[in-house]
């Protein structure tokens, strides 16, 4: 009996380690000179699917030998998980038009992305299209492993009807400074127009700070990333002020500590929301809204206010064989004409230097998007590197404890988070 147990254990162990040894084998990537059919993934929201389909159809009509197969990104908890799994499995498509900058560092570390800087003319193409903003999308070595594509500059949306009902001026709302914002919030809640003045998701996911702390910190600091040169920046007076502002909203019950299962702004559970231009189409016909830049401690002209980008970029994945075609499609899909279609079909802002002038007619015909077009040139991205998500999670944990639930002094929490993030940032 013992002999048999030993035998079975040995077989299991040998099998496990033999299989372990298999990992990392096989698979081959192509080169930028290879051409042929490719597959691309794009986001699964209605507007981006419409854009993706027309772009693919337009390319295929002109390139019969380099056909593109367009697919919606497969469903998963998040797109980043799906992409990460596809990289590991070696079956990622050539291009993904939904690559989150926060995940790019990890994908690069996994060997899943092609270094665009090594493709002839790619760096100059990216810089010519996106200008200075493109700098934020380089890795720490100065290379592009992502093509900056489009942003959703975060602003404050407010419900004009609720403001009117609360006796506030719906056309010139006092929301530019922290003091004004809090005073307006108090009036809204006191008037009973909504249970919350504003309700950013008070949940623990790493990315949620991109929609409460980060836009206001970008605005207050004049465009600082929360980590620069492997050192956190946010534990400064600007960061403390932003944290205290939000802590006051939570403490005074102007913002809820509990997540709302649905869209609080659309459902009338919050009088304001912190959102990007995608919201224009979503709230059309549902909410009589207006928009203003995010607040700062002292009033600043709108043209000086920075915010979080909420960008999604394009990755060229190393599993791709026909990388020459992939790069050509990437350029085609970020051309002036395709960017215009992106703007028209999705309302999201192509990351172009000349956005406001190139598409002046569009912004004239769609004034609701004009502020976003202007704001797009002043956006801040998450810090680059393979540890971005871990850093953002460390920040979020400190934020939850101190700002949302008030269990720790905000300054002490930010200082502790900064120390932790400094350590994480130095990890390979």
């Amino acid at each position: 009996m013992r002999r048999r147990t030993v035998l079975i254990t040995a077989i299991v162990a040998a099998g496990a380690f033999a299989l372990t040894a298999c990992s990392g084998g096989g698979g081959s990537s192509g080169t930028s000179s290879q051409h042929g059919p490719i597959t691309i993934w794009y986001s699964n929201n209605e507007q981006e699917v419409a854009w993706g389909k027309q772009m693919v159809a337009s390319w295929n009509a002109a390139h019969p030998k380099e056909q593109v197969k367009g697919q919606e990104i497969p469903a998963g908890k998040t797109s980043e998980e799906v992409i990460g799994a596809a990289i590991t499995a070696g079956n990622a498509p050539c291009l993904i038009y939904n690559t989150a900058p926060s995940a790019v560092g990890q994908f690069e570390k996994q060997g899943g992305l092609v270094d665009l800087s090594k493709i002839s003319g790619a760096s100059s193409y990216i810089q010519a299209r996106s200008g200075k903003v493109a700098e934020q999308y380089k890795n720490t070595a100065g290379d592009y492993f992502q093509m900056p594509w489009k942003s959703n500059p975060v602003v404050i949306f407010y419900n004009k009807d609720m403001f009117k009902k609360a006796g506030l001026d719906p056309n010139n709302p006092k929301l530019s400074t922290y003091a004004d914002f809090i005073a307006t919030s108090k009036k809204l809640v006191a008037a009973g127009v909504a249970p919350n003045a504003i309700l950013p998701a008070p949940t623990s996911e790493f990315f949620q700070s991109q929609f409460d702390f980060y836009p206001l910190y970008a605005a207050e600091s004049g465009g600082k990333q929360i980590v620069a040169n492997n050192k956190s920046t946010f534990a400064d007076q600007d960061g403390y002020d932003v944290a205290d502002f939000w802590a006051t909203l939570y403490k005074d019950k102007l913002a809820g500590q509990e997540a709302y299962n649905g869209d609080a702004f659309a459902d009338g559970k919050a009088a304001m929301a912190i959102v990007g231009p995608w919201a224009v189409a979503v709230y059309k016909g549902k909410v009589n809204w207006g928009s203003v830049p995010v607040p700062t401690k002292e009033a600043k002209p709108a043209s000086d206010v920075w915010t979080f980008s909420d960008a999604k970029n394009i990755g060229l994945y190393s599993a791709c064989k026909n990388q020459g075609t992939a790069w050509d499609v990437l350029k085609y899909s970020t051309s002036k004409a395709e960017d215009q279609k992106l703007l028209e079909l999705t309302g999201q802002m192509p990351l172009r230097t000349d956005l406001a002038t190139t598409y002046a007619d569009y912004f004239k015909a769609n004034p609701a998007y004009k502020a976003f077009g202007d704001q797009a040139s002043r956006t801040v991205e998450v810090p680059p590197g393979p540890n971005t998500v871990e850093m953002l999670q460390a920040f979020r944990d400190a934020w939850s404890k101190s700002v949302i639930f008030g269990k720790q002094d905000t300054k002490a929490a930010l200082d502790a988070a900064a120390t932790k993030i400094n350590t994480i940032a130095k990890q390979p």
Binding site: G15, G25, S400
Partner: protein
């Protein structure tokens, strides 16, 4: 029931007339029933591929500097000893998650055993609407978690039905964002959701408790409570051990409820579980090595608990 002592002790001469005793048995490398091995081979392969291999791989990962990489990528994965274990076990969030799941198990496992046994006993005696009741208890178990989580969220949020009924007695902060209540609410939720499965286990076990024992107990003047404690409880002891083990193992793997009901282990980590942290570390943050170390610690902890349960609740069975 009719076997002799000699038969039970395994010293009955074989039909071949060989002399009794282990020492003289003919050696059979594939055992006494080689056909049995053939029949069990598909499941054995399944277990090896789906359970044994991942466990072995996770164990290997936990001792290396490991991250998921594209096929063909040149990646160094050096042996790092216990570094990942030290990283995991010195992280306050990880330690808290183990404490949280401990709280969960202390509430969930006893409630599961008690309620499923009581309800199964009642169902076993019910004469009316038996099918309806069985289905009613089983429906939450087969319903998708996302759907029932939405219902519980509606019940227990700040403006939910429960707080409306409780009025001033409602806790503040509300249940799902209350440090003290978040984990117990998850434990109650899981108990309620899984109860139908455990009731079925007990119902099956109750069929094997001899009716004669109840009749004898009645003859001796035992009431319903005495019969329950002296006949039913000992009669379903094997099922109880199974319920204890299964509810502990599934409870230790808690993920969906803190992920959905308390939105990622909130408030402020009060309902995080080790598996949720593993998900964050391994999938979101690209540290499967640390996640694997947490997983190995969890497996060892569950094995110790299961051993103790089997030792103290299993008796000689």
């Amino acid at each position: 029931m009719t076997s002799t002592l000699a038969e039970r002790q395994g010293v009955v001469p074989s039909s071949g007339g060989a002399t009794p005793g282990r020492g003289r048995r003919k050696r059979r490398p594939l055992g006494r029933n080689p056909l049995g091995l053939l029949f069990s081979a598909p499941y054995l392969l399944f277990v090896l591929a789906i359970f044994a291999y991942p466990v072995g791989y996770a164990f290997w990962i936990s001792f290396h500097d490991f991250f998921f990489a594209a096929p063909g990528a040149q990646v160094a994965r050096p042996f790092v000893g216990f570094t990942n274990y030290v990283t995991a076990l010195t992280d306050p969030a990880v330690l808290r998650s183990f404490a949280n799941v401990g709280v969960f198990l202390v509430i969930n496992v006893p409630l599961t055993v008690v309620f499923s046994l009581l309800l199964a006993t009642a169902l076993n005696k019910a004469t009316r609407a038996v099918t309806f009741l069985r289905i009613s208890y089983y429906v939450p178990y087969v319903t998708a978690s996302i759907a029932v989580v939405a219902v519980w969220s509606f019940l227990f949020n700040g403006h939910g039905l429960v707080n409306s009924i409780l009025g001033p007695l409602a806790p503040s902060p509300s249940w799902l964002i209350n440090d003290h209540w978040a984990m117990p609410i998850i434990a109650f939720f899981v108990t309620w959701k899984q109860l139908g499965f455990y009731i079925l286990l007990y119902l099956a076990a109750l069929q094997n408790v001899p009716k004669e024992l109840y009749e004898s107990a009645s003859t001796d003047g035992a009431g319903e409570a005495r019969k329950f404690f002296s006949v039913t409880v000992p009669g379903v002891r094997t099922a109880t051990v199974l319920v204890l083990l299964v509810s502990t193992v599934t409870g230790a793997n808690l993920f969906t409820e803190p992920y959905l009901l308390t939105n990622g282990g909130g408030p402020d980590g009060a309902s995080t579980s080790p598996v949720l942290i593993m998900y964050q570390k391994g999938i979101e943050q690209g540290q499967p090595d640390v996640a694997a170390a947490i997983g190995v610690v969890l497996v060892i902890a569950v094995l110790i608990i299961a051993f103790l349960q089997n030792r103290f609740a299993g008796g000689r069975d």
